[in-house]
């Protein structure tokens, strides 16, 4: 049984039945943490020595695709924990930090978040202002983060803060913060257009003390650490776009075969069948870009261009395909109970989170020496 088939079976049996209630209650089904952990789906791409499950970025992309077919809101929750936050702990953590913070995340015993974005700095990571001021044997964190996925359910938060004045490129440090620490609090869940079952919060740091042993990686090297870890994050998000598009195609094809207009199935109308064929082609092209980015990264080759292209293209394809699928459904597609309405709402954030379309285009233009 190929890995993709296992992911598909897992999602069909363990995730899909929970989607409706999770969307309705706007809550991630917590039972999934242990189930995914037991199935080794939270430690892919991490070596066994640190509690990982083997595998590589390609396997993470495949999981991401399959999860997103069921629900973006459910998918993003473990994907952020294991494949967007945990990589910071793995790449830059000391062995003792990995034992304490990384290992439990890879088995689903603990949940992680990554907090970079602030009310006044998103794309401009170097422009963050949350301060970390030296105090005794550590630092006092002061400031706020915004849009933090898993903010209210995470046990472990990787936080980017300014440890010196001046240019952010050389003055950011990442820290490990634990939920419940004095001086740390979270705002109410933010209400969103999509990803309804994903928890997104404002985080408030009011002189929150973190010991020097919780510095992750090197002091003042945080900006570069974040940029490195972003590569992986973008492949995972791009793969979510592919999965979302795939789900829209499956639902649209099934609907078009059965729905009749003017006495025949709408799948026999050129406007509809060509749109479906276009959706298929776009999605397959996006998938190949995503797999290429993952395979290059897995081979240790330079994946910067492939990653930016994959993120840009897959997110746009997801939006286009979701839009077309709503059109195939007609009025039924506008109903919340249709299988495509949720995907239509969920697609939009993929062009924003993890680096906007414009940021990917900037990266690509720079790689063209423009």
């Amino acid at each position: 049984m190929a890995f993709q088939a296992v992911c598909r079976k897992f999602v069909e049996e363990q995730v899909t039945p929970l989607v409706a209630e999770a969307e309705e209650k706007q809550r991630f089904p917590t039972s999934l943490w242990r189930r995914m952990g037991d199935a080794g789906l939270l430690g892919l791409g991490f070596p066994e020595e640190v509690g990982g499950a083997g595998g590589d970025l390609l396997s993470v992309a495949i999981l991401s695709e399959e999860l997103a077919k069921a629900s973006g809101g459910i998918a993003i929750t473990p994907l952020v924990s294991s494949y967007m936050a945990a990589p910071h702990l793995y790449r830059f953590g000391r062995p003792d930090q990995m034992r304490e913070y990384l290992a439990p995340v890879l088995t689903g015993h603990k949940v992680a978040a990554i907090a970079v974005t602030e009310p006044d700095a998103g794309s401009d990571v170097a422009g963050i202002t949350l301060r970390a001021t030296p105090e005794g044997d550590g630092y006092l964190l002061r400031g706020t983060k915004l849009f933090i996925t898993n903010g209210g359910i995470a046990d472990i938060i990787v936080v980017a803060a300014k440890t010196a004045g001046g240019d952010g490129h050389h003055s950011i440090t990442t820290f490990i913060v634990e939920a419940g620490q004095p001086g740390f609090s979270v705002g109410r869940p933010l209400r969103k257009m999509g990803w309804h079952s994903s928890d997104t919060r404002e985080l408030i740091f009011d002189d929150c003390f973190v010991g020097a042993n919780r510095v992750l990686g090197e002091v003042n090297r945080g900006f570069y650490q974040i940029m490195q870890a972003f590569q992986e994050e973008r492949v995972v998000l791009a793969a979510m776009g592919v999965g979302l598009a795939e789900a829209c195609i499956e639902a649209s094809v099934a609907y078009a075969r059965h729905r009749k207009a003017f006495g025949r199935p709408i799948s026999s109308l050129q406007a509809i069948r060509h749109s479906l064929a276009h959706m298929r082609t776009q999605t397959e092209a996006a998938r190949l870009l995503v797999y290429q980015a993952a395979v290059l990264a897995d081979a240790g080759a330079d994946a910067a261009q492939a990653t930016a292209m994959a993120k840009l293209f897959a997110a746009q394809v997801a939006n286009d395909v979701a839009d077309r699928s709503v059109q195939v459904f007609g009025g039924a597609g506008f109903l919340e109970e249709s299988p495509v309405a949720m995907h239509y709402r969920d697609a939009r954030v993929l062009r924003i989170g993890g680096g906007t379309d414009e940021i990917q285009l900037e990266i690509l233009a720079k790689l063209m020496n423009l």
């Binding site: 049984m1 890995f3 296992v6 079976k9 199935a39 080794g40 892919l44 066994e48 499950a53 396997s59």
Partner: protein, 261 residues
């Protein structure tokens, strides 16, 4: 020597999610396409892995399938089984349950297992007779419909599903036990498991390897013939009852009419 040897009969069947193809000549299921592990056998595999999970234990899969098919066996190997024996031979086409039992018995006998596990019935054939025939041919006691299995020394303790609940049954090992879908929750093969399964041994045997005569098995040896297949009646639309405060009474009346209460 392994501590505990468990054999699991693992059937590979056409994907039940796809529409079944019935061969017009034999009225049996066309099994020439891609096959997958029968879901009902994944419970047996999991049970075996839980009973014989030690480093020195051994879980051997035994399967009879056409065209050297191993896809379903790889799934069970990815779950953690140690190795597999596949019997594949053109002469086996058209085997009935007894023919299958003869083949599996011949393959299992040399393994000398402590325990043989099978599903109560397969998802594609549903005869539910093969495991007890197998037990008879192996000269072993059999316990069917297990919803719980534990090993205690040289005894297997089984909770045998009944209509009212379950019976506690004890039986000396070696034995054949058939398990229900409720017995354990099958694990998902992990990434590591899938990779490891690629290099696990699968012995592919023919009838000759087992010393069986083609006349005793397959269509030639079958004592059972499927004379006709007809489609199940399509389900008729149910009755929709609007609850205007009398819903409960309507349900009661309906159940009484069916004589279920």
């Amino acid at each position: 020597m392994p501590d505990m040897k468990v054999v699991v009969c693992a059937k590979q069947i056409p994907d039940p999610a796809a529409p079944p193809l019935i061969r017009p000549d034999t009225h049996t299921l066309d099994r020439t396409g891609k096959l997958i592990l029968d879901d009902s056998d994944s419970y047996g595999v999991e049970m075996a892995l839980q009973l014989a999970g030690g480093a020195d234990d051994e879980v051997t899969l035994v399967s009879m399938a056409p065209n050297g098919e191993t896809a379903g066996l790889r799934t069970a190997l990815a779950m953690g089984a140690t190795r597999a024996v596949l019997i594949s031979d053109d002469a086996l086409l058209g085997s009935d349950a007894l023919g299958t039992a003869k083949v599996l018995a011949a393959a299992i006998r040399p393994i000398q297992p402590d325990l043989v596990i099978a599903a109560t019935e397969s998802t594609d054939g549903y005869t539910g007779t093969m495991p007890v025939q197998l037990a008879e041919l192996l000269g072993l006691p059999s316990v069917t419909f297990a919803k719980g299995v534990a090993i205690d020394g040289s005894t297997v303790k089984v909770q045998r599903q009944t209509e009212a609940g379950y019976d506690d049954v004890e039986c000396p090992l070696p034995a054949v036990v058939t398990v229900t879908a409720g017995v354990v929750e099958p694990r998902y093969p992990s990434f590591k498991g899938i990779m490891a399964a690629r290099s696990k041994p699968i012995d592919v045997l023919t009838l000759a390897d087992l010393g069986l005569a083609p006349a005793d098995v397959g269509a030639a040896g079958a004592r059972q013939e499927v004379t006709q297949v007809s489609e199940a009646e399509a389900r008729t639309a149910g009755e929709i009852v609007e609850d205007d405060g009398e819903g409960a009474q309507r349900i009661l009346a309906f159940l009484e009419q069916l004589k279920v209460i």
